[in-house]
């Protein structure tokens, strides 16, 4: 059992507070992704779990044991670094077997387990090479091999795919997911790429400025973001934010859209005021079908073949994105009637917290 639990974990660098109190439970065997913009503290948090950074305050438990003050070599965790950090003077086999040598395994055992790990990662023909003779993807595999050979209870990945080209990234993403299924170990994965987070995670932790914004499954975060930050961070292209006036009306909410169009939303609202309506580009239509219809002007069209992404301006000049069919006929400069269902709309109050989430899944 290797659940990871953080309680009120903080990290200061001098007077600067980097991690401002994190409470998090990661279950045994869970694939947990820390995601957030650069500088949000996600890598620092991972390094604190690894033992490479001290924990200023709070407690860390791995598999029920208090690891707050334990050194990195005794935490039973393995880490794959963003830079891979392969030992350049050792062969692939020596790199993979290094951890076993350090923990005093005998030669036969090391050879057996190194070969097994290499087989799993298709590294067998490369065992005698030095890291300098490998391609980026192969180095990445060696770094993963070095981690899995020790059968750690917890795997830590620090942006492991950010140095790879796009196609290799997609391939390695699949391989890491498969590895997780095969090993069943707890994995914590740091990335700034929300696509990686969505595709791999059981649980996503969205971080911003040293705090957790929201924890949940990928679809939970997509459908029910707690605030503007999460709503804007999860999903690609990002959610549109439309400034609106909202007030309670007939047991529901009435929203005035730019240009004066009224939209009725199900839900309750305590007081009227300026709010932000959230609408994902994929939930708007370029055909004008939906509960609300807005006249817009096409500013820009990105033709991706299977779909076209339109950037259109509303009556008040604010711009939103609309994902449409690849065959949609509209062109930049022309008019477009966009429509969307009320059920797809999110509403955020002035503080940025969600008042209402769309309920497309319910």
């Amino acid at each position: 059992m290797a659940e990871v639990s953080l309680s009120n974990v903080k990290k200061d660098f001098g007077a600067i507070s980097i991690i401002k109190g994190i409470d998090l439970e990661i279950k045994d065997g869970e694939f947990c992704v820390f995601v957030g913009p650069s500088g949000c503290g996600k890598s620092t948090l991972l390094r604190m779990i690894a033992g490479l950074e001290d924990i200023t305050q709070g407690a860390l438990r791995i598999g029920g044991r208090d690891m707050t003050k334990i050194g990195p070599s005794d935490r039973g965790v393995a880490m794959v670094f963003q830079s891979y950090a392969l030992y350049p003077h050792m062969t692939v086999a020596e790199n993979i077997g290094f951890g076993l040598r350090m923990t005093g395994h005998d030669k036969a055992e090391i050879a057996k387990r190194t070969t097994a790990a290499a087989k799993m990662l298709q590294l067998e023909p490369l065992l005698d090479r030095k890291p300098g003779q490998l391609s980026g993807g192969q180095r990445q595999r060696v770094a993963i091999g070095r981690a899995i050979v020790r059968n750690p209870e917890v795997f830590l990945f620090d942006e492991p795919l950010s140095n790879l080209d796009a196609s290799l990234r997609v391939q390695m993403r699949g391989e890491i997911s498969r590895l997780h299924q095969d090993l069943g170990a707890t994995m914590i994965y740091v990335t700034h790429d929300q696509v990686e987070a969505m595709t791999m995670a059981d649980k996503i932790v969205v971080l911003s400025a040293g705090r957790i914004e929201q924890v949940g499954s990928p679809l939970e975060l997509y459908h029910r973001p707690k605030n503007l930050f999460v709503a804007g961070f999860i999903g690609s292209p990002k959610m549109n934010f439309i400034p609106v006036e909202a007030r309670p009306h007939n047991g529901g909410i009435e929203v005035t859209l730019p240009g004066g169009t009224l939209l009725q939303l199900a839900g309750t609202l305590a007081a009227a005021g300026k709010m932000t309506l959230g609408l994902r580009p994929e939930h708007a239509t370029a055909t004008g079908a939906g509960d609300a219809v807005l006249p817009t002007k096409v500013q820009l069209a990105e033709h991706l073949g299977s779909e076209t992404l339109f950037f259109v301006s509303l009556a008040d000049g604010s711009e939103i994105a609309v994902k449409a069919d690849g065959l949609a006929p509209q062109r930049p400069g022309g008019a477009m009637q966009i429509g969307f269902p009320a059920r797809a709309c999110h509403l955020f109050d002035a503080a940025g917290n969600a008042v209402l989430n769309g309920d497309l899944t319910r």
Binding site: Y84, A85, Y87, G99
Partner: protein, 291 residues
């Protein structure tokens, strides 16, 4: 073909520069060698000979011979003195080199990776000693060495060499470690290695070229030392070649041939060392550590 001659003026300039540099560095060595194989009477001739008209090994024979003649007289052989001084040079230089490399390897790592109060100030102070001229500390150092009973001992001379050459080696190794990604050590720690094992098994092998450079620098500096042994090695107990060779100048005769033969022999150890260690000075050891 055309490419080769495209920048002919530049090429000529380059080769001219290289030729000058070679002449500058090899010229004196060549002249020393020529002098060492020139008969004594030809050494004082009026005409310049770039190669002796009658080459002779007599100076070398005098150096290595069991007995020796000087100006027609049978005199005591210089070989006992020479061999002793040769050994002294080797012992003090090798000891200083070994100590400096070991201390710099660990010390510089501490200056880079360990956090302790006053770390950077201490480092600046150590390096600042490079700016102090040796002559200014000679007298206090002499008194110190007398009080410690270290005059004319291998320990004394070696210690002085270490204190003189360590700052540069520390400086060099510090930049070597600074250029090394911390993630390599972190990976080793996570692989279960202690800090010391990570250092010995991961950092040190990669710092090899830096250590070799430190070793070469220190050995060459120690081998060529004159002032320090002149003061601190008064007798053949520790007197090195650099101090012995000028003593071939006697009151009424300067034995140029013998001095230069001894000089040529004295070049051999550093030359062999550099030729042997040169292959470890390769760059690109770090290839493949990262992306």
């Amino acid at each position: 073909m055309t490419r080769r001659f495209k920048h002919l003026p530049g090429q000529i300039g380059l080769w001219l520069g290289v030729a000058l540099l070679v002449l500058w560095s090899v010229g004196p060595v060549y002249w020393s060698f020529v002098t060492s194989i020139t008969p004594p009477n030809a050494l004082v001739s009026n005409s310049l000979h770039l190669w002796p008209e009658a080459a002779t090994w007599q100076h070398y024979a005098k150096l290595f011979g069991a007995n020796s003649t000087s100006q027609g007289n049978e005199v005591a052989s210089v070989w006992p003195q020479f061999s002793r001084a040769f050994a002294n040079s080797l012992i003090t230089s090798l000891a200083a080199t070994a100590l400096v490399v070991i201390i710099a390897a660990f010390g510089a790592w501490a200056f880079v990776r360990l956090q302790f109060p006053g770390r950077d100030v201490l480092f600046v102070l150590v390096v600042a000693t490079l700016a102090i001229p040796a002559y200014t500390v000679m007298i206090p150092l002499y008194r110190l060495m007398i009080s410690l009973g270290l005059i004319d001992t291998y320990t004394g001379v070696t210690l002085i060499y270490v204190s003189a050459f360590l700052p540069l080696a520390l400086w060099l190794m510090r930049s070597v470690y600074q250029a090394m990604p911390l993630s390599l050590e972190e990976a080793a720690w996570l692989d279960g290695a202690s800090k010391l094992r990570a250092f010995v098994q991961v950092v040190l092998p990669l710092a090899g070229p830096g250590l070799v450079a430190c070793g070469i620098l220190t050995f060459l500096s120690a081998w060529g030392q004159f002032m320090v042994p002149l003061v601190f090695s008064p007798t053949l107990a520790t007197k090195p070649l650099t101090v012995l060779i000028p003593e071939f100048v006697t009151r009424n005769y300067v034995d140029y041939g013998l001095m230069n033969a001894a000089g040529i022999v004295a070049i051999a150890p550093p030359l062999l060392l550099v030729m042997f260690l040169n292959r470890y000075l390769v760059s690109g050891l770090m290839a493949g550590a990262g992306k």
